[in-house]
């Protein structure tokens, strides 16, 4: 679009006409649901997901700095803004909605609510996904390990203390559940 309007403004005939980028088919799964999409190659995975309606993946900085768009790709936490949508071909994506639903909240989500670890809520989806990976890899983290585990997720409201408390409590709950299961 920019190219076409520029040529109108400047009246330069040498400017090539705008050709919309070719769309590529992309198939992957989100929270266990198969998704078939089409997007130009330059579309970031963040934009692709949000355009498909997965708006729980938040757009914060688009530079990998804030962690609001954190998702799991084949189980590994990553910034959705730092991959091309086409790179997700055939992959399994989990967003915060795949970790727990309103009717069936994950213990991390329960503790976030109990501890008041949510204020404006913008960082929460990414924060919970990052916490999920942390607790999957380190079931009984120290407070320092929790801080390090969410180091890539910014929160401008809480000052982090309640988030760290909530993750600590979720870890306790999850490991006591596991103990009972055995």
């Amino acid at each position: 679009m920019a190219t076409a309007s520029k040529s109108k403004r400047t009246g330069k005939s040498s400017t090539p006409a705008y050709v919309p980028p070719k769309k590529l088919p992309i198939s992957f799964s989100v929270n266990g649901q198969e998704v078939n999409a089409e997007a130009p190659a330059h579309t970031s995975l963040l934009y692709l997901l949000r355009d498909l309606g997965f708006t729980e993946v938040k757009n914060g900085c688009e530079a990998g700095d804030c962690g609001a768009c954190t998702i799991l790709l084949d189980g590994l936490a990553m910034n959705a803004c730092c991959a091309l949508g086409v790179q997700a071909q055939g992959r399994e994506i989990t967003t915060v909605k795949g970790i727990g639903t309103v009717d069936n909240l994950h213990p991390i989500q329960v503790k976030f609510i109990e501890y008041g670890a949510i204020q404006c809520g913008f960082c929460t989806p990414g924060m919970i996904v990052a916490a999920k990976e942390l607790l999957d890899l380190t079931p009984n983290p120290s407070r320092h390990e929790i801080k390090a585990g969410i180091a890539g997720n910014l929160c401008r409201c809480t000052g982090y203390v309640k988030i760290i408390d909530a993750i600590e409590a979720a870890a306790e709950e999850l490991s006591s559940k596991k103990g009972k299961g055995k």
């Binding site: 070719k22 730092c82 890539g152 997720n153």
Partner: protein, 288 residues
């Protein structure tokens, strides 16, 4: 933004063939690629090739005393890989300070080198380990010393349509001494003010071989050859460590920026190498 074609080959041969004769840019973890893309109105290239599915570029291995990091080895791999933890723990120590855990899951060592930034955190430890960069294009393969590969501010010796396939370095041996320090304004997600890496091979109390390098204080991270020479062949004491540290500061040419002044950086280029050398060799420092 102008669009581009995209392919995701699974073999190195198919990758090089796809890149042949076309304006190409490679993508792996994307942690530099995507943020950069937002400022490129003409697009990065006509064709973007995804390397993430090329199995030949994966993995960390060790053979005949050489450690090889495939181009797709991530920072998270450095933190968890047994070969690295045993043979080159300095890389794990660096990775722990690199960005944050989510970036580390995707960011590759090769990508950090290719980006060519002065504050590329993986580079000082790799320079101290005397790393070589393996490159491939449809014209053939070549190997370049990492310090020759970095040619200036965000400039490397990479040719068009050439890609890094791996980096290799000799294992410094299980009894080597090392130190790494990232001086930054925060503990995570921070751009380095001064990065220092020290790798020392010690035999009968003598430093046999030294690798010392600095990041963020020159256009590209730099090896401190003079400082290395001062230590090599000697039983190092505080005085010699100080001399080596002064030699480090002598090659530093830092700039003032939002994170720190040039003056402070220059001073830290003496303090930090001395501290790391002394800590690595168990030399007591009374004036620190």
């Amino acid at each position: 933004m102008r669009g581009f074609d995209f392919v995701a080959p699974t073999t190195l041969a198919a990758t090089l063939k796809a890149a042949k004769g076309r304006s190409t840019k490679f993508i792996a973890g994307g942690t530099n690629f995507l943020p950069d893309l937002r400022h490129q109105h003409d697009g990065p290239a006509k064709l973007v090739i995804d390397l993430m599915r090329v199995s030949a570029l994966q993995g960390i291995s060790s053979s005949k005393g050489q450690i090889k990091l495939g181009a797709l080895a991530t920072m998270t791999d450095l933190l968890t890989n047994k070969i690295i933890l045993r043979e080159a723990p300095i890389l794990a120590a660096m990775s722990e300070k690199f960005a944050g855990p989510i970036i580390r899951n995707r960011a590759t060592v090769a990508g950090n080198i290719i980006d060519g930034g002065p504050a590329a955190d993986a580079v000082p430890p790799l320079l101290a380990l005397k790393t070589k960069v393996r490159l491939a294009s449809e014209k053939g393969r070549r190997t370049v010393d990492l310090d020759k590969f970095l040619t200036g501010y965000r400039q490397t010796a990479i040719r068009s349509n050439e890609l890094v396939t791996a980096v290799t370095f000799p294992s410094p041996g299980r009894n080597h001494k090392w130190g790494y320090y990232k001086l930054a304004r925060r503990n995570a997600m921070a751009i380095t003010v001064v990065g220092v890496a020290v790798v020392l091979k010690v035999r009968r109390k003598k430093v046999e071989e030294a690798g010392i390098s600095l990041g963020s204080v020159t256009a590209a991270p730099i090896r401190c050859y003079e400082a290395e020479k001062i230590l090599e062949g000697n039983v190092v004491d505080l005085e010699l460590a100080q001399k080596a540290a002064e030699a480090c500061a002598a090659v530093a040419a830092p700039i003032d920026d939002i994170r720190a002044s040039a003056e402070y950086r220059k001073l830290m280029c003496e303090v930090l190498p001395r501290r790391l050398i002394c800590q690595a060799l168990d030399i007591s420092q009374d004036n620190d």
